[in-house]
Symmetry: C2
Subunit: 332 residues, 2 copies
């Protein structure tokens, strides 16, 4: 492999790396702030810090949690986090919220949402980074996840709300993608429509304590839908669990299902293959985004693009001719 | 607008253009063959021919037809085509079949499938082009559509089967996207799942003569699903029609719905805006694909990509560092 980095870490970043590896929270937070910074020199330093931490990553179970507002994600994640800590595990909670750059964030904006968990020394909660694009938000979260892994967290929970394509991004960085549903007719149809049910590895019907009958009906409905939506994987049949995060009922069963998943996919080699595939897909996404931004910043392209785009819109030239002409400028 | 073409058409291609505009079928077929050719000199000539034809395009109604194998697409398109010809219109039938490069094509492979229509002088039927990618197949079909328009066809029907993302491609090149469904429970769920129902402007339940009751139930189900799936457009509510292509029942109603759509969206300006937006989206797709292929063919990228991709997969480097390094080669 060609060495991607030629210059060594500066001493300040060396001690940052050492602190992260020593499981200290302050260096962890500082490393994440470096990753989230938009400044170019910070970005360069962040990449070096990440390279140094990489050999120590990969040890955590990466759990994605999605669900519409009101489904009880915070309550569920707090209950799950406290349960895992009871089992002796350290838990990090991150978020991908593409609305955060505009609105200041709709999830994990403050830690009071998960009061008990945020006060626990074995937990680390970080709100969504803000960035100009979903791709940017997701990439920073993915890199933050790696830093948390290097810092010895056993479980990384990545939370997202149903905004834009954020579910796909979270499913693309986690080992298991869990969808929280309400025991409502129509909620499952929404999830089918948005293609979320299709990418879910585990489905949880929360608030099952309120109306047990409705929860059982929802479960049956979702099972039927899953059956029709996709062929059963040779290694995994998507379970549909009912639980009550508020009553702390069903949390242990949920975690058992996650462990079953890891075991089933681990045995067949699918687990490791999925991580390799995810990393490669991230690389290509960053390459495509880089190519597009270079293209747009080329002087001749900047000069001609507006008029050519207008000509294409008006049918005065073909999309192919316009694309060909603009791409031709890159050679000179 | 910067003139995209500097050299004039050669005499042979000038007579090709004249023949297409004179509504002669031989030059039309020859122009399409030029468009479908993979040879670079043919591609350059094809783009010039297209530029010359462009001022004469845009006059047809572009109708996309999708549906799974067995739904009766051929029978429907033949019945619709013959009906339109009876109304004094000329009809072209094209296809987007991404499997055609591999299998030789699963739709429109031979004209015997629509025997009466193919023998009619007011009809022109062209099987799917074969190309290495769906993007390639779709772009050639889109350009073929423009040639047919310049040749005076009033209606262009673009057919596709449910393979890959071909529905999205066809919806992206037509004015109205029609989904054919069977009166089966589960068929609509498949369409919801694949996101096709969401992009449909018109839904048709075919074979309604076999079991009228089942067709009515399917209609009600689909209407409910449509209601839940998306907010009603200010200008258009997606109709669900029942018909029998075999019995030639409901074809006139179908065409009336297409005309209603054109009128409703035309009045609000949405129709023209949709075409402008489609052309621009095609341009960007071709730019992205061009950028990616240039990137891959850069000598340093070709040299380093395999090892770096492996390093990313194995977690020896981050996707960001690998992408950054590879993109860096483009500057030199």
């Amino acid at each position: 492999m060609p060495a991607p980095i030629s210059t060594p870490l500066d001493p300040a970043d060396q001690s940052l790396v050492a602190g992260v590896l020593a499981r200290q929270l302050r260096p962890l937070a500082k490393a994440i702030t470096l990753i989230e910074s938009q400044r170019e020199d910070h970005q360069a330093r962040a990449q070096k810090v990440l390279e140094a931490l990489l050999p120590h990553t990969g040890g955590a179970m990466r759990v994605g949690i999605s669900g519409v507002p009101g489904v009880g994600k915070s309550t569920f994640i707090e209950a799950l986090g406290l349960y895992l800590i009871e089992q002796g595990l350290r838990v990090a909670v991150l978020a991908v919220d593409p609305s955060s750059s505009v609105t200041g964030g709709s999830i994990l904006g403050d830690k009071t949402r998960m009061e008990l968990l945020s006060q626990n020394p074995a937990a680390f909660i970080r709100p969504s980074p803000s960035a100009c694009s979903l791709g940017g938000v997701a990439e920073k979260t993915r890199e933050t996840m790696l830093v948390c892994e290097a810092s010895g967290f056993d479980v990384i929970i990545v939370e997202t709300v149903g905004v834009g394509q954020s579910e796909t991004a979270v499913a693309g960085m986690t080992d298991i993608f869990c969808l929280l549903q309400l025991p409502n007719a129509g909620d499952d149809l929404q999830a089918i429509k948005k293609g979320i049910m299709e990418i879910a590895d585990l489905i949880v019907i929360n608030k099952a304590d309120i109306d047990a009958g409705a929860a059982m009906r929802a479960k049956a409905q979702i099972k039927t839908a899953l059956h029709m939506l996709r062929p059963a994987s040779p290694n995994w049949t998507v379970p549909v669990l009912t639980l009550s995060a508020l009553q702390k009922q069903g949390i242990a069963d949920f975690w058992k299902a996650v462990c079953d998943y890891r075991e089933a996919l681990g045995a067949s080699g699918e687990f490791a293959a999925k991580r390799r595939h995810q990393a490669l897909a991230w690389m290509w996404e960053m390459i495509d985004s880089g190519l597009r931004s270079r293209f747009r910043s080329h002087p001749r392209v900047r000069e001609e693009l507006p008029a050519l785009a207008r000509a294409v819109e008006e049918g005065d030239t073909t999309p192919a001719a316009a694309a060909f002409r603009l791409l031709g400028h890159l050679q000179s």
